[in-house]
């Protein structure tokens, strides 16, 4: 049940670059119903000082969560992924993600705790662009519910 504490502080190598496309941003903005022109119109983005269309703030989660997946699915960690729900999510931005970015994620396990029989894992994902400049950091708290729990996940991810 208890996770391997030696994983705390462990970092994983940067992911292969994810290239952010204009049409992927458009698809995401439409899926959340957000019609802000900076997401789809390069001119509108430029008027706000951005060199290309920008992505909605939570767009980057798909990239950081995939990177975190390599961490949490590491069999040596011992996490039962089928019982994992998303606890908290936080982002700190240096700048918005934009079309043309080639982003890499470096994931680090920040903490491993056991609370009321649940395993609680905090993963930090540092996102950098192709020039090595910081774009955004994502913190994801994952909770693996204890097997004896009532099967009532708060939120799935």
């Amino acid at each position: 049940m208890a996770l391997d504490q030696s994983f705390v502080g462990r970092s994983y190598p940067p992911t292969a670059p994810y290239e952010v496309g204009r049409e992927k941003i458009r698809e995401f903005a439409e899926a959340i119903g957000d019609t802000h022109p900076a997401y789809t119109d390069p001119k509108a983005a430029e008027e706000l000082g951005h060199p290309d269309v920008i992505a909605p703030p939570t767009f980057v989660f798909a990239i950081t969560f995939k990177a975190a997946g390599a961490v949490v699915e590491d069999p040596r960690l011992g996490l039962d992924y089928s019982r994992v729900v998303h606890g908290d999510q936080r982002f700190a931005y240096t700048r918005p993600v934009r079309a043309g970015d080639r982003l890499t994620v470096t994931s680090t396990i920040e903490s491993i705790k056991s609370l009321a029989g649940n395993d609680v894992l905090d993963v930090r994902g540092e996102v950098h662009d192709e020039n090595g400049e910081h774009v955004v950091t994502a913190w994801t708290k994952l909770v693996a519910r204890a097997p004896e729990d009532e099967p009532a996940p708060e939120q799935g991810e």
């Binding site: 909605p56 999510q89 708060e154």
Partner: protein
Amino acid sequence: MAAKIAYADVEVGTELPARSFPVTRATLVRYAGASGDFNPIHWNERFAREVGLPDVIAHGMFTMAEAARVVTDWVGDPGALVEYGVRFTKPVVVPDDDKGATIEVAGKVAAKLDDEERTVRVDLVVTSAGRKVLGMSRAVVRLA
């Protein structure tokens, strides 16, 4: 960055325009495709009930994305967002009908953080069917 709200014009307690966002099963299918999150609890009622949920539930990240819109629409430039965090406290249950569910979002300025950086903290209240679905929902934005 080009925020349309001036730091000097807001004070602690300033309310952001509240919004409500509809979410149906079709919304969730579309979000699954766009986000790459195909967890069946977000589209398969049989599976959702098998794992003890009352019904299909919305992606937590979908709710987080909708709540952010209250802040980004207010400030005008989504690039003005400096920090954004939430806790997923209760699921948004989405029934299989034409109406679906509704996510209600209200927000107000909770603190003026830095006069030089012109940053403020906005606290959001996010509910669905009268229940708080996000906790600790906070954004830091840089104003003009």
